[in-house]
């Protein structure tokens, strides 16, 4: 479980610490830093996996002249505290920022360190076994998997930390599945290739997912992949139409809301229910009022059963009124622009629901 996140000199975060709970609702005005928090984790994951490096000059805090940017992740795994720290140095002379320090400790003992262009490898006992020169513009953490099993454990865990901003537009959410994708993209653009993979590896999860989708999508029957004339596989859904006729729609023929719901229930059954950590930005987008609480309750139950972690970012009254009182964390900016947080609370017992309180700006900032 993600226990702590520390961010310094990244967008609006300066010396910012966040200790997430198992269930949490991040709320606050636009621009208060909620989605940037998700981006910080996402960028860190991409940096470590080597997919891409989004830590650029533009991500630095505008008013902070300090050259170093820091992101720390702390996780509690099998009773051990894993602390990963990344320091990125920006200098006007170099085009690409460089890694000033990359370090992983487990309960205080170093298992990996990358500083000054040199990677230090440590055995499981904590003694340094070897070193290597490495490019200062890339993460070196993956190199240490062989020398220390705890590094592998951390990387495996990082694969189970998911940040989602689901984008259900038809030109984003891919219906073609030429390949299988083992992991979902942050916006579920690879929904079909990911589902193709899941069909093979998790048939039981798929049965639960389809059963839930039948409740959520009116007249929905099943999902399948069709083989097109050009050999391409496309994700299609069967629905019951008038006169008990069966009609088939491709994913691109779904409404945005239907694609969103499908994505949400996939995240629920194939990610949240597996005990993973999920940070989900605005799951209420595109979804009708009647469809929000059933998903939220099912997701809450899945977190409960799997001992996972669910952090929602939302402005929606349905979600605010159900979770704000007990799990709400309010993001706000101080006068100097820095992001701060505090548990959601009201000025006084007004009797108003949180959504109404927030709409009036009466939350206790």
């Amino acid at each position: 479980m993600l226990k702590r996140l520390y961010i310094d000199n990244f967008r609006c975060f300066v010396n910012f610490e966040y200790k997430p709970e198992r269930k949490q609702l991040l709320l606050g005005a636009n621009g208060s830093g909620k989605s940037s928090l998700l981006d910080a984790i996402l960028f860190l994951k991409w940096f470590i996996t080597g997919d891409e490096n989004d830590f650029t000059q533009k991500t630095r805090t505008r008013w902070d002249p300090h050259p170093n940017q820091v992101v720390e992740l702390e996780a509690e795994l099998e009773g051990k505290t894993f602390l990963y720290r990344l320091e990125i140095r920006y200098s006007p002379e170099e085009q690409l920022p460089s890694v000033n320090l990359e370090k992983l400790t487990v309960s205080g003992t170093p298992v990996f360190e990358f500083a000054g262009g040199e990677v230090s490898f440590f055995a499981n006992g904590g003694s340094q076994v070897s070193s290597l020169r490495w490019k200062a513009t890339e993460s070196a953490l993956r190199l240490a998997q062989q020398s220390n099993t705890l590094v592998g454990r951390f990387l495996d865990w990082l694969d189970t930390v998911h940040c989602f901003q689901i984008d259900p537009y038809f030109d984003v959410m891919e219906e073609r599945a030429d390949t299988e994708d083992a992991l979902p993209e942050y916006n579920l653009s690879n929904l079909a290739p990911w589902y193709r993979h899941l069909l093979l590896v998790d048939p039981e999860g798929n049965a639960r997912f389809l059963s839930e989708l039948k409740e959520a999508l009116n007249n929905f029957l099943s999902l399948r992949f069709s083989q097109e004339d050009d050999g391409v596989r496309k994700l299609r859904a069967d629905f019951l139409a008038q006169g008990k006729k069966r009609i088939t729609l491709s994913l691109s023929e779904f409404s945005d809301g239907q694609r969103m719901l499908m994505g949400l229930y996939m995240v629920l059954h194939f990610v949240i229910a597996k005990g993973h950590t999920v940070i989900l930005d605005e799951p209420d987008n595109f979804v009708s009022l009647r469809e929000i609480q059933p998903w939220l309750l099912a997701a809450e139950d899945a977190v409960q059963e799997s001992e996972g972690q669910l952090i929602l970012i939302s402005h929606h009254p349905e979600i605010l009124n159900y979770w704000a009182r007990e799990f709400g964390l309010l993001f706000f900016r101080e006068e100097n622009g820095q992001v701060r947080t505090k548990p959601y609370s009201e000025v006084a017992d007004t009797g108003l629901e949180p959504a109404e309180t927030i709409a009036r700006g009466w939350e206790d900032e």
Binding site: S288, Q293, A324, R325, T350, G351
Partner: protein, 189 residues
């Protein structure tokens, strides 16, 4: 569009919601559950205020679909009877004639009054010694209470099966709740 709501839970907090929804799953009710839990302020006041609204909505909708309304309100330092009387008086005082017709016992409405609160029930249902006078809320962290919700709900389901002899350690407020839940007939949606 998803199917209509079959069960409405009116409750004071998230822990009660998690516990009762887990109980409903034991009853094989997996969908169509709507939770109206206290969004802010006093949970007790919220439930009392919402109760006539929910009973009215229940009576309006029951002509169309068979639903359950499960209301949970903590006894705190009061008795179960005094809390039930407070709920009843909300209906009796209503200007709405439909609410003043007094037939809650014959409807699919269950009024559960944990004494002192839901945490007491979770302890009793999971086999721990607990009485109705002490407040156990602060004895465990929130996550620990939430972990007890599932095993407790399984025990509650076992106790609401027909012809079950409740064990001696079952407290009075829970005995009354078992009775309330046992009279509900199956909802449809």
């Amino acid at each position: 569009m998803s199917k209509p709501t079959a069960v409405v839970l009116l409750c004071e907090d998230n822990l009660t919601s998690v516990f009762l929804r887990s109980y409903l799953k034991e009853c094989r009710i997996f969908h169509g559950v709507r939770v109206n839990s206290t969004p802010s302020g006093s949970g007790f006041d919220w439930v009392l205020q919402q109760y006539p609204i929910e009973v009215n909505a229940y009576r309006q909708s029951k002509a169309r679909i068979s639903t359950w309304l499960i209301v949970t309100i903590d006894a705190d330092k009061k008795t179960v009877t005094s809390r039930i009387n407070q709920l009843d008086s909300r209906l009796k005082q209503s200007e709405n004639a439909r609410l003043r017709e007094f037939c809650v016992q014959n409807e699919n409405i269950a009024r559960l009054v944990p004494r002192r609160n839901i945490e007491t029930w979770l302890l009793v249902l999971t086999g721990a010694a607990a009485n109705e006078k002490d407040d156990y809320k602060d004895k465990k962290a929130r996550e620990e209470w939430q972990r007890l919700a599932k095993p407790a709900s399984q025990q509650l389901f076992a106790w609401t099966r027909p012809n079950i002899q409740l064990p001696a350690h079952c407290i009075e407020s829970l005995r009354l709740a078992v009775k309330e839940l046992s009279h509900l007939s199956e909802p449809t949606h």
